[in-house]
Amino acid sequence: MLYVELIAQGLVQGCIYAAIALGLTLVYGLLRILHVAHAALFTLGAYIGVLTTNATGSLALAFVAAMLVSGVAGVAVFRLGYQPILNRPPFVALIASIGLYIAAEEIFRIVFGASGLSFVAAPLQSQVPIFGGLQFKQAEIAVMLGTALIIAVLAYLQNRTRIGVACQATVSDPQMAESFGVSLQMVRDINFFVGSALAAFAGVWVGLLNNLVEPTMGSVPAYKALAIIVLGGLGSVQGTLLAALTLGIIESFGTIYLGKVLDRNAIAFAFLIAVLLVRPQGMFASK
């Protein structure tokens, strides 16, 4: 029963990682940029989520607001931050991205205060018995269902709509895609919007599960999401999803069995190093 519980806890964490890391994968696949500032959009989403919930009492509204605001902010980061330096070497964008993230942390501190915000009446906190004495917070169940739903919808849109197919073609060969009439600007905007909205989705859940939203809450997800997309084989969406879930479960077991020697984040990176020693191309890369 402990195992089942650990796996389930790992899946909850893994879903959150997946929602964060997907945006990074999309951006990497499209532009070959390691978008560290992505984590700022995660934090922004968490703030919008807690503020909206406290103001209106509606968590659903909080998700909509957080995803819209972060989505638009993500497009702004792309257009103002990355677009002007797209033809420079990739490390230029990486440095810009790290700078943006640090600046964002400070802005959160100045605007929302250093000590963080909590939910006045945090929703979805009661325990739900599943079977055999196993219990979950409502919020944890909702994280898993919500992530699965959102990813299923995105997969559907990507494979069944013209815009989705155009996005995939652009990742494969931007010059050819553009010549057949794909607007690169639109594809890039859409990817930043969707990726950032997903980060906000994760941010709201993390804020709710910890009942705390603080300026630095993005720093651990920032580098952990980078680790995940490397594990997933850089740019592979399925690889990223599997890597996120695997990492969630490894961490969950690790904190029980290795918790005395390594903390949660150290376990994640020990795992990353171990995998890369054996498979430098990532866990799930085909080539």
Binding site: R162, V165, A166, Q168, A169, V171, S172, D173, Q175, M176, A177, E178, S179, F180, G181, V182
Partner: protein, 234 residues
């Protein structure tokens, strides 16, 4: 149909093609021949708008298309199956065709796709396959099919037969003749000189970024200097 006046193009200060003039007659196949590095692919990519012209003009019909983007040229009716084919390797055959037809309404996709499948029934059998998993011949059919989805009047094909089995080459050439008989104008780059001479109406020979011969295929066959020097025919 397509008229090229004194076209010069290249990369940075390097000129891949200088001062090329060439006219394609509507509904004909023109073979563009030359050794490796002669500038054939650069010329095709310049006509398609992917390589900028440094001097000269490209007229398509009555229209000067020299300054247009690749997309605008596709909308005008100029399509290319480029060197290396450059398929969307992670996408299915059907999705590759879908992207090829993006400039047309979604409602017309099925009709256009079925026309491509009529031309290359093999693509119909592989419609759900991932393009990267296709055989070389199937990939070439898909590259041509994807370009056809834009409903071009001018079709440019680079290295049609490269790496393909003779049977597949036959099939592709039969398709080209069908397209020409329907009125399409075709500009064909080939290493395989015998093949081109078999179907082409006109021939243009390039050498080191310059045009060294052009005329009808019949004249090319009868020109002893050309046969020996450039075509390796006997």
């Amino acid at each position: 149909m397509l008229r090229i006046d004194n076209l010069t193009c290249g990369y940075g200060s390097f000129l891949a093609m200088s001062d090329l003039s060439l006219t394609l007659r509507p509904g004909t196949i023109t073979g563009l021949l030359g050794a490796n590095g002669a500038g054939k692919s650069s010329t095709l990519m310049c006509i398609a708008g992917h390589v900028a012209a440094k001097a000269g003009q490209v007229y398509f019909g009555e229209r000067d298309v020299t300054g247009l983007t690749p997309t605008e040229r596709v909308r005008q009716g100029i399509a290319i199956s480029p060197e290396g084919r450059r398929l969307f390797k992670d996408l299915t055959v059907e999705d590759n065709l879908r992207v090829g037809g993006l400039i047309h309404p979604a409602a017309e996709f099925k009709r256009d796709r079925d026309r491509v499948i009529d031309l290359f029934p093999r693509l119909g059998e592989r419609i759900t396959s991932i393009a990267g998993n296709l055989s070389g011949g199937e990939q070439q059919m898909l590259a041509i099919g994807r370009a056809l989805m834009a409903r071009p009047q001018l079709m440019m094909i680079d290295e049609l037969s490269l790496g393909l089995m003779p049977k597949v080459i036959d099939l592709c050439y039969r398709a080209l003749l069908t397209l020409r008989d329907e009125g399409m104008t075709i500009l064909l780059v080939e290493q395989n000189t015998d093949r081109v001479m078999g179907v082409a109406d006109d021939i243009c020979v390039l050498e080191s970024g310059r045009r060294v011969w052009s005329g009808s295929a019949a004249a090319a066959r009868n020109d002893p200097t050309l046969s020996a020097a450039f075509l390796g025919l006997h």
